[in-house]
Amino acid sequence: MSMDSVTARGQSRHGTRAWKDYARRSPFREIWEYRELFFFLAWRDVKIRYKQTVLGVLWVIIQPLFTMMIFTVVFGRIANISSEGVPRPVFYFSALLPWIYFSTTVTGAGMSLVSNAGLLAKIYFPRIILPAAAALVPLVDFLVGSAFLIGFILFYDIPIGWNLLLWPILVVPLALLAFGLGALLAALNVRYRDVKYAISFGIQLLLFVSPIIYPSSFFPEQYRWLLALNPLSGLIETFRYAVVPTYPVDWGVVGISVGVTAVLFVLGVLYFKRTEKAFADII
């Protein structure tokens, strides 16, 4: 029986349905088709996050708030690291929110395939929605944190200007960076479980080589390009600038960070797409 003759007679209970060839389906259309599953997976992760906890949703804000307080005392008061004239709680809090989003997403996305191995082995869906859902979930925390940040801005009487509009815009490159890196790590993790250890260790190190507990200006000028290679540097500094317009930003550093972000995103997604067919066979 030739395929064409079958297609020509394709009358069925739903009228004529087109043949779907498994080998030829557009990835973009598919992601759209599976959008509900994507939201359900994200919704599941939000739901289960704080089940059977006493403080529940409060944990969303406890983490950045307490870290900010400790940083203010240890790095601000005791070590006396400059905050470029920004009130210390605002200085740390505005960097901690993107940092926590980034580290949670990279960890969650990086583990997303392995921790959903059961799903991968039993059901089809565009695999990319797993790390994508992992990038969506911590956005909720980021939003809650941002509301608190507005409280700080009012409390410290920081003038409100157009620069504040940068805050939500910056979420886009931040999310792309975290998702791209997370997708890359997730795909590697399927084959090499070393990645699990590398993630937690890498995140720990990254905290110290990103301008979170110190401003970029803390680095001698001739070495600042090194800091810029870490794409988080430019992003975090700009997040601070979005809150406090007097905060000095090295726009060259920001440019390099955005470039590195774009490269990492493309690399992550490409590697993921290139290896995803084998996921179920080797996970």
């Binding site: 209970r13 289960i48 799903l119 479980r193």
Partner: protein, 415 residues
């Protein structure tokens, strides 16, 4: 009739052996440092899980796929479900495909029954508004109304299964792919499944059904496909295919059978069943095994090395593949701390073989107590049970009396 599934010369190759699975990065680097120019893992063996498989299935057709363990059935279903990809060949389907390789895929312990219905529905490809629409029916079908807002970690395994199946039963695909899900349920549950599948068939859906339950395949499927070592061995009317398939197990029986030539056995092989003997209680070989007679089955094994704490067990199937019983010596309270290398045997003494006359199939296993690892698995041996006058009434048992008979006495009390 119009085709809904078109599979053309599908092949799937797997690499086996070598530390390929879960390899660590370090191993790769060490290997690379040693032989930077060597072709990576050329020493790996490959096997063809599927070889040049082609068939088309029409609308309203229910196709049963049968075959031994490792024959490639699951690989075929995984490719059709798009979980894994073929090495070559093409798969085309028409309409909405749903695959049910497991009941309750993606259930999360911490979520309530209600939440899991939505999650599972979405995983199986239902839209949210479809789940909304069928929600009450799903809950009613599952029979867990009272606990619908309780996290399912508090559910019994039966409740979970019913909930998972309730969602699956409300799928409305054009093509349904089902794997062995019927094997896990109890009889009532299996009946429900079969009824639901019947409904699908009547409304013109195409169903592909893989099962070891040959009786279910025979009941449900119009067509059978027998897959053997990755190839289609037979494709035809379900009943004919089942008969040929079962016929392939028929070995020489008499008073025992040699198991060394058994194909497709599983396990690591550190210990293997070699031979099986049917004996009378006095130790003499049985010329024939009869309903209601005592029977001693002696399993001869050979161990290559010392095996600690093995579990010897078997499953007994009817000719149609219905599992009659699964048992092992540990269930009987026996403990074998270790088996020394060499030959030996273990016996199971059956006081009365309460089987209706017919052809049966043993599947023998040696595993660790919790089932993993498998040392030797799915070793097949046939058992032919002959007619006898079990009721001492001259009335013989036959297959119309069911699968087993109970030892029984009747008392007649007249008014």
């Amino acid at each position: 009739m119009t085709s809904c599934i078109a599979i053309d010369s599908l092949s799937k190759q797997y690499r086996i052996g070598g530390p390929q699975q879960h390899a660590s990065l370090r191993e790769r680097l060490v290997e690379f440092a040693r032989k930077p120019l060597a072709v990576r893992r050329s020493e790996n063996q490959t096997i063809w899980a599927l070889r040049d498989v082609s068939f088309h299935a029409d609308e309203g057709e229910v196709v049963g796929i049968i075959g031994r363990n490792g024959a490639g059935k699951s690989t075929l279903l995984k490719i059709l479900s798009r979980i894994t990809y073929p090495t070559s060949g093409s798969v085309k389907v028409r309409g909405r495909v749903a695959s049910l390789l497991e009941v309750g895929t993606g259930f999360h312990d911490e979520l309530t029954g209600r939440e899991n219905i939505y999650l599972n529905g979405s995983i199986l490809g239902m839209r949210k508004r479809e789940v909304d629409q069928h929600f009450d029916a799903i809950v009613a079908f599952s029979g867990v109304e009272q606990f619908i807002d309780t996290p399912i970690k508090r559910y019994s395994s039966g409740m979970r299964l019913r909930l998972g199946f309730a969602v699956a039963a409300h799928l409305d695909p054009d093509v349904l792919i089902v794997d062995e899900v019927l094997a896990v349920g109890d009889a009532g549950f299996q009946k429900k499944c079969i009824k639901a599948m019947e409904g699908l068939r009547k409304s013109g859906r195409t169903v592909l059904f893989v099962s070891h339950n040959l009786a279910a395949v025979e009941n449900l499927c119009s067509r059978g496909i027998w897959i053997d070592t990755g190839r289609i061995r037979m494709d035809g009317a379900a009943k004919d295919v089942i008969v040929s398939y079962m016929g392939s197990f028929a070995g020489e029986q008499a008073s025992g059978s040699d198991l060394t030539g058994n194909e497709n056995r599983l396990g690591s092989g550190e210990i293997r069943y070699m031979r099986l003997e049917y004996l009378s209680p006095d130790g003499t070989p049985c010329a024939m095994v009869r309903s209601g007679d005592p029977l001693v089955v002696r399993f001869h094994y050979h161990a290559d090395k010392t095996i600690l704490d093995p579990s010897f067990g078997f499953r007994l199937y009817t000719e149609m593949g219905t599992l009659l019983t699964e048992t092992n010596h540990i269930l009987n309270g026996l403990h074998i701390p270790k088996v020394e290398p060499g030959d030996g045997y273990i016996e199971v003494v059956i006081d009365s073989l309460n089987l209706i006359p017919g052809q049966y199939l043993f599947s023998l296993w040696i595993t660790a107590p919790d089932g993993v690892p498998v040392y030797d698995g799915d070793v097949r041996a046939s058992l032919e049970v002959e007619v006898s006058d079990v009721y001492r009434s001259g009335r013989m048992l036959s297959s119309r009396h069911g699968l087993v008979y109970f030892p029984q006495r009747w008392r007649v009390v007249l008014p």
